[in-house]
């Protein structure tokens, strides 16, 4: 077991979680997208590192796919959306930044507790890092709940997705390729759909903040 493999894996997995926590910290839409790109890249590194280590060609392909979709395409799409509304910031989150960070810490602890139980089935370098993935999922979800802007919500959704992807790589070295392909495609499509909706809604309704729409209620 080469130390580069281990070091890279730990570094990249750490980067995934770190970037997700950073998204809670930063408010500007632009920096959110940057964090997301960083995360996508780190995720690709995890996949490729694992693939190289286990000589798993499917995983290498997946890594490439992740690199293209999550590292490049999705951030680019989001940046285009962000550019329509330059300088926008998540000015008033439902939970303020310091509290969010405390929450993130708590969520990480929880995912550590749950994750180690999961990892206990097959202890190993990769598996032991699984809690990081779960933490990313939870932080992403937390972001979804507490951030008001549409872009932030999409970013939160992507964080959840990236976290799951990280867990997939770490625990199982990737699910069967067809499933992986399908899920990646789905993520892409969801982003496209969301973007389409944001744009259409922006055109149609004069609601300033899309996520605050409450016309439909009982």
């Amino acid at each position: 077991m080469s130390s580069t493999y281990v070091g890279t894996l730990e570094l990249a997995a750490g980067a995934v979680l770190l970037s997700s926590v950073m998204t809670l910290w930063r408010r500007g839409v632009g920096s959110l997208v940057s964090m997301l790109r960083l995360q996508g890249l780190a995720l690709a590194v995890v996949a490729i590192d694992l693939g190289a280590h286990e000589r798993d060609r499917a995983l290498l392909v997946t890594g490439g796919l992740v690199l293209i979709v999550k590292g490049l395409v999705v951030p680019a799409l989001l940046r285009r959306v962000a550019r329509r509304d330059p300088g926008s910031r998540e000015s008033n989150p439902r939970v303020n930044v310091p509290s969010s960070l405390v929450f993130a810490a708590a969520l990480t602890v929880l995912s550590y507790v749950v994750g180690t139980r999961i990892a206990a089935l097959a202890p190993g370098v990769a598996t032991d890092l699984a809690p990081l993935g779960l933490a990313t999922v939870l932080v992403g979800y937390f972001m979804l709940v507490t951030r008001r802007r549409a872009v932030s919500k999409i970013v939160g959704l992507l964080l959840v997705d990236n976290g799951i992807a990280l867990m997939t790589f770490l625990l199982t070295s990737g699910v069967p390729l067809i499933v992986e392909l399908g899920s990646t495609l789905d993520v892409l499509l969801v982003v496209v759909v969301l973007q389409f909706l944001m744009v259409s809604m922006g055109r149609h309704s004069r609601t300033e903040r899309l996520t605050e729409m409450k016309a439909l209620h009982d």
């Binding site: 929880l110 749950v114 979804l144 709940v145 507490t146 996520t211 605050e212 409450k214 016309a215 009982d218």
Partner: protein, 664 residues
Amino acid sequence: MTVYLVALGLCAGGGLAGALAPRRHRVWVASLLGVLGCVAALVAAARTLLTGARATYHTAQILPLSGLSLSLDPLGAWFVATSAVVGLATCVYLVGYARHGMASRTALAMFMLFLLTLLAVPVASSVMSFMFFWELMALSSLALILSEQSRHGDARSAAVWYGVMTHVGAASILLGLLIIAAGGGQDFSQLSAQSTMLSPTAKGFAFFLVLLGFASKAGAVPLHVWLPKAHPAAPSPVSALMSSAMVALGVYGIVRVGVDLLHGGSVWWWVVVVLLGVASALYGALHATTSTDVKRLLAYSTIDVLGLVLIGVGAAGALRAVGLTSVAQVAMMASLLLVLAHAGFKGSLFLVAGAVERATATRDLDLLGGLVHAMPVTTLVAALGAASIMAVPTLGGFSSEWLLLEGLLHGLSAASTPTVIVMLLGVVAFALTGGLTAVAFVKFFGIGFLGRARSSGALDATEVPPSMRVAMIMLSALSVVIGLAPGVLVTTLGRAAATGLAIPDVAALGHSTGLVLAHLHGAVAPFELLGGLTVVMIVLAVGARALGSRRARRVDAWACGRDLQTPRMQYTATSFAEPLQRVFADVLRPQADIEVTHAGESRYYEQALLYQSRVADVVESRGYRPVISAALRLGRVARRLHNGNVDRYLALGFVALLVVLVVA
């Protein structure tokens, strides 16, 4: 069983004919098939009642995942017979009534379906079969209540009340039955075998659950609220069926589950049944005296009579539980006979109400009067019905009430204190009810049919078509036969009661026509009574003739010398009941509004004075309304849960995720 299945088939055919046959023929075709179906059901029921043989039928092809099970035993056959007799009369009645209403496809189909379920419920012998027909009965009667909804606005609210109460009741029955069925299996025979292994608590729980549902169907106070709304709203043939056949099935259910499936249980179950009966009898009778709507009066009187039936059933159950089986059988016989007699007199009275409504376009007693001149046959039937329900000796109501009193009196010698106390309460309720019923039906007949017409509708009334008259007379005749010769029914009645209570058939042996309770020192011979009465009447009539003056001279009423006599000066139903209403004001809580319109500027001269008085159902206004408004408030508050904020929805999921992660 074949005959019985044919009966069901004929009713179903009637329904199809009603739905599909061309307009000109559908009424009589449906009625004919209905009549034939009822006759077949009567034959099947009579065979079971006479031989005591039990017939069963099972098929897995009908009703998915459960199958259909039917079983005809003497107890069920008694109720089948009751339903069939009323069904027979109402089908005949329908031919004439259809020109007035209920001629639509849906109404006819639903009517036949209703009839079918009435015949099927007492025979259904598995949880699924029973609930299927039970709910179908509710559904079809609900549709029938609504069949005149565009004419009677009250029908909608009545239907909601009825639908909800019967559905909740059915849910309660279902849960109770399922608890008995928890060991697997759903046939009543299996349930009966399994229930011996249930704990007393579980049995009691199951019994009170089913009691809730069945008592509500039987119109027991305080679960009666739907009844005075639904019966008036339904077309008269339907009210007749509902009041005399459907409501009785609630009683059937209590006996079937309490005795057959749960083997009688403890005395306390039946004490509760008697208490329900006592409350119903008194409350129903009291409200009947103050009601002015003919059908509402009859509906409350149904509550009253069913209360007496429940007293009988409860007494029978309690006496059975303390070992006095022969007295228990008498009480049960009384209940069963009262059910049949009630089918006769209340059925005919509801048909009378329909005839009156058809002839006068009103059901308000305060607007009726003088129908005796225009509608002699209807009046005669009304008189017989009213007399029977007042328990005038030699009529149906009397025979059954006599049996009931005998049962209660001999039950007083039981050794168990709770039993004696409820018997005593039963006797007291019985006595009070008798007097109140008399007031109600003297009012019904005296105000509605005698005197002078109080509205143009009543003035222009004409007699109803022959088929309606025949139907009314048929049901009247039933009550007269029960009254005059209860002895001929005693054997079958005793068998049905004994099967119902699962005890040996010992108690009553009729001698020719009367009732003699050999070991209980009681006897009544209505035929001889009628003979005596007739002799006296003939003597009087002959005597009057002998004294000369054959024809009476018509003169203006004297009325203490008052010159002007208008119909408006007669007592109305409201004023007739006013003294009694005042006596029982604490229970009835009548509401009166006085509205004064002053003439011009003056405060002293009144131009018009509007006085309104009405008696609302206290149980409804104090017991049900608060619950309903609380539920509506809850609904309003709950709407805030879904306030349109997507963050809140996401947060819900997030919390759920965290909880699940912690738990897993």
